[in-house]
Subunit: 327 residues, 2 copies
């Protein structure tokens, strides 16, 4: 009996499919591709498969007990870790795709510069066909010689740190569970337990955490209050990490200078949600890791092909997620 | 008789004044400081001076024949090069302050990322409390692996090149009169005469040119037409460099993907100017070299103090402008 792979993804180009075909052939697998609108055909084919490469909880739930590996094309896999019933068996492996750091880092640099350089205020001035602010703007600030605290030192956090250093940042501090990173880009890496001490000296806080029981609500009302009133906040991890009501209060009262959220709870935000009217807040609709960037799509496919080689050789998978830990 | 310096500037802090005082004392000079609202007092004092550090054509014009050196606190000195009658004598030296590269490079990175990542479209979507575009947006692009053409390889152009390389740009091409730069940041430096050949392969064009007879209108209608329709344009030099009517036509017709102008003709733009209604255009009110950035102000004062030491020692001034050339 043949060994089969099901790929149910929308972003693949012809070149990506060829690359996957070749990697599958080398590993002794047959592969079929499906896109949006072909769910039923994908569900039929997956019944014959031991590998599924997709980002569809629904298709995973319809997979057979013979499925050994689910390769998720996204980085955040909290829906899969929360709901064990999605998997056909408890020992079906889950990998995620840690390939979004490059594009998310550019989003973070963009929104940090927009806040530091007061771009939303200038946009408002120019929209009114005016040239000067009615009140003088506070001084602009710079990435150069500035300091940054980054929650999460994985693929995303490390790319953000590297971009900021490339633009002349003076100091980039990373926080993660272990308090250790082998990546030389960090000026300092501390354990998450140091967060309360780090917040009062934080000028710019970037959050790039997965959603896990330990990170839900980690930026609580009490912790937001520990940030200086001229600090900026960016969240590109998961919306669950922040007490949104406390954040809105801090921004509206001026207890925090500004924030840029690409992730929120819930998504999309309902029409009457208070975040829409919060001051000094830049909102984007969960696009920082946009799959339209060729670089990201290429890296996603490359990571799957590399792990397929690992899988066929019986080696550990590079993207393996500890489902109990959540990342 | 004492040798005197007049400083007429608004951005100086107490620390800056002390630094200038000390440098002046070392060089055997007495210095007095004036700010906005003290023009008459400054004019009286400058009658006794051989050095003026300011950015006031009016005060320069009121200066005595004994003035030997006018240190201009801005980078662009086109008003001074255009009007020789501002100077008390033809051989009064003019220096400019090439210290804006760091802050202007951050502005360029910000607006490039906003265009590449389609931020103005997302801002519009979110302003309507919507989550998804009604039409799918074109794919976002990235600084990483992208290529850039920079007109002007001076302090500003070099800082822009360095920031883009720090963010993973694949290739940065500089163009300048000589076609040569000793700065290793450039992947390629070409003479301005190669511009027509370079434009068709330009994905992102950054203009950082002084206003001189040779640069006025350099981005003509014919040259705008040579740019690919998916190219982006940023101008942080002088508004005179671009045929604005041709640029508006190209943006409105989709012959060019987007532009970000921090400099225009005239400034401020009149209420009924067509640029206010031009599509895919980000306007900022000449703030890319904003003097509110501490780094820029510090560097400005440091450059003056260093040249004061040169002046006192009879050495050539580092910031000396060739008034006939215009920079």
């Amino acid at each position: 009996m043949s060994r089969n792979i099901c790929v149910y993804l929308n972003f693949l180009t012809e070149a990506h499919r060829e690359k996957i075909q070749k990697a599958a052939a080398r590993a002794g697998f047959q592969v079929r591709f499906f896109v949006k609108g072909q769910f039923e055909a994908a569900r039929d084919w997956v019944q014959t498969c031991e590998i599924l490469y997709s980002n569809s909880p629904r298709l995973l739930k319809a997979s057979p007990a013979a499925l050994r590996w689910y390769c998720c094309s996204s980085a955040g896999v909290d829906p899969y870790c929360r709901d064990v019933s999605l998997f056909p068996t408890p020992d079906c492996m889950l990998t995620n795709s840690n390939v979004y750091g490059a594009t998310i880092a550019e989003h973070v640099v963009m929104v940090l510069l927009m806040m530091l350089r007061r771009m939303p205020e200038y946009e408002k001035i120019m929209a009114g066909r005016s040239w000067s602010p009615s009140d003088p703007l506070s001084p602009i600030r710079s990435i150069r010689d500035n300091t940054f605290t980054i929650l999460g030192t994985g693929d995303i956090g490390s790319h953000v740190a590297s971009s900021l250093k490339g633009l002349g940042a003076a100091k980039v501090t990373g926080l993660c569970r272990s308090g250790y990173s082998s990546n030389p880009v960090w000026d300092e890496v501390l354990p998450i337990s140091a967060l309360d001490d780090v917040l009062p000296r934080t000028k710019n806080l970037v959050m790039a955490l997965p959603s896990t029981p330990e990170t839900v609500g980690i930026l609580s009302r009490a912790r937001i209050a520990r940030l200086p009133s001229d600090a900026y906040l960016v969240n590109v991890g998961r919306g669950t990490a922040i007490d949104q009501e406390a954040l809105a209060d801090a921004l509206n009262s001026g207890a925090l200078a500004g924030a840029a959220l690409d992730v929120m709870v819930p998504e999309p935000l309902p029409q009457d949600h208070p975040l829409w009217e919060t001051k000094n807040l830049i909102l984007t609709p969960h696009v920082s890791g946009n799959m339209t960037l060729g670089y990201t799509c290429d890296a996603n496919v490359d990571a799957f092909c590399a792990d397929l080689e690992n899988y066929a050789a019986g080696r550990p998978l590079a993207g393996l997620v500890d489902r109990s830990r959540g990342y």
